[in-house]
Symmetry: C2
Amino acid sequence: MTRQPNPSKAPTLTSIARSLGLSPATVSNVYNHPERVSTSVSERVLAAADAVGYAGPDPVARQFRRGKSETIGIVFTDEMSFALRDPASVSLLAGLSTALQDAQLNLLLLPAGSPVGNSRVSNVMGAVVDGFVFYSVPEDDPHLAAALKRRLPIVVVDEPEVVGDADWLGLDDHLAAADLGRYLSRLGHRKVGVITSRLGRSRHNGPADEEMWKNAVYPVQRNRIHGLREGLFGAEVGSIAVEERFENSVDAGLTALHALLQRDPDITAVCCFGDVLAIGALEGARQRGLSVPGDLTVTGFDDVPEAARAGLTTVRQPLFEKGRIAGEMLLSHPFSDRPRRRYLPTSLEVRSTSGRPNSNSM
Amino acid sequence: MTRQPNPSKAPTLTSIARSLGLSPATVSNVYNHPERVSTSVSERVLAAADAVGYAGPDPVARQFRRGKSETIGIVFTDEMSFALRDPASVSLLAGLSTALQDAQLNLLLLPAGSPVGNSRVSNVMGAVVDGFVFYSVPEDDPHLAAALKRRLPIVVVDEPEVVGDADWLGLDDHLAAADLGRYLSRLGHRKVGVITSRLGRSRHNGPADEEMWKNAVYPVQRNRIHGLREGLFGAEVGSIAVEERFENSVDAGLTALHALLQRDPDITAVCCFGDVLAIGALEGARQRGLSVPGDLTVTGFDDVPEAARAGLTTVRQPLFEKGRIAGEMLLSHPFSDRPRRRYLPTSLEVRSTSGRPNSNSM
DNA sequence: CTGAAAGCGCTTACAG
DNA sequence: CTGAAAGCGCTTACAG
């Protein structure tokens, strides 16, 4: 006896076979290829199984034997509960789950918290999956490196931008932000603030100077800041006040708005790199007695369902579709080909939180 | 050769061992018990593994050998993408994931769509998990029956109310709804409408008469209607107009509100059995030019994050906690004991969508 | 510190 | 339609 579990009590396919004087192969066929077995034998087997409480072939053993897990793992930057608090990543998850469900695959949620202190770099190494989706992890993420080693199909969503053999799916964040910048510029905004989620690995909340965002390990945020500035100022020089928050939450958006306006009261527009942050910023503006968009323009990113209800002007991206397409890319993964890159379109949804700046603040 | 995958190409623990003149046991120890192996051997093994692209012991084989999957499955009523569109179930999921992460377990999302047409009742039978959480599935759900057969720990959240050996976690829905009813009654409401998500298995959208909700396979909704009526009318007779929607969405709440008020224009309060429905109902009231709460009181259930932002009066339940506790109950599952039952508290959060009915509608 | 042996529960060609 | 045989890749006591 070399295995503790199943203290020679629980019935197995073999024990059922033996008790009936059949071969394990036949019992296996009853479950896997009923058409190859006579109905009388089939019935005897099922009855015996029922009698001893055998629920069918052990899933782990079957999976082991077959070499397939029929499961895809998704890895987030963060603790899972953080990812699930963000409606944007939840939409992505919903889209992914739809694609997988169509293909009869299960979805395994893998948190990419800090690596465990063992020899195993991360639970990514031990995850029983046939492929991975990585959602918005930083450059040089150790879990991603570990997954790459396993030579399973991988689709990276958003970031990092380039990853060995993995397929990539994301946005042209530079372009999207530049469009937004041009729109704000046309409205007359010159003093613009940015509220961004984390730029680096450290738990930093506060102003982020140019050096900080140029060195961000999250290229998405980096590209957006660059793009926004280009759209606002073109070839001119012009500075943007950037406020960083490690967490992506309503409360983070709220405190960031206060910090930004305290730092520079002349700001007439605040661009949030996520609708959840923007909803918090709107609340902050309310607290300060600022009318939106009269005194302050606030914009978001993503276009989550609540954005429309809040009247938020935002950069829309097809999050559900993104998840669905990530799933499809994974399912159609062409081994031995060059990695694929796919860009999804964005669009500016102008609603009621953006407008011309007040003349007195110009 | 009896296994197609791995066309005798991919390195295995054994092949590494052989190439180094070591035993598989030693190579295994390098990965699982490094302290039992000399550093020189360890280094040789790791170098050889790296050279041939061996990413460590195959997770499926290890899991098979160990007999544990370190994974918990969660089963929803619906397609996964529906569950993920509802912030209430997402909060639950977040709480569950937190509990599991603390215990180093993974979370597998199992959709409980229509059973597949095979001999296997559902993917629940084949899911590689050490336990299940069932979230709000109907009475006599086939997936739940299948899971029960597997004799793994199970925690049922909300419904069904009683399930063989499974633990149960939920609310006193009757009491919660009765509290709400008493509150509305005190305000002076007599004509009250209900917007509920599905009561039965069939895809029904429309009025639900008393027979329909008394026979609901979702006891939660049944109990809430009973409780609400008791709170409103006590021992008196009094009827409530119930509008059923198969889906739990903003749009469903919106169309249900219109249907309800078209059916009975004298209704002064609408109770929604979910905040998402209530947000839709608020939108419907807006479309009809009704002021809230002046012309119409609207209440929700759950207290999702957006509820507070929308000023929604609602019955709060601790959703994140519910998920976390479900996880803890699963982890502490006492085999051979009586199934446990645990009730979580609810509270009425009075905000700005409820008030006295207009005198002219009384 | 290292190795030989046993075996986890199942499925797959193949032969009869 | 049924069975004998092989083997998936690994880990665990145990002995040396």
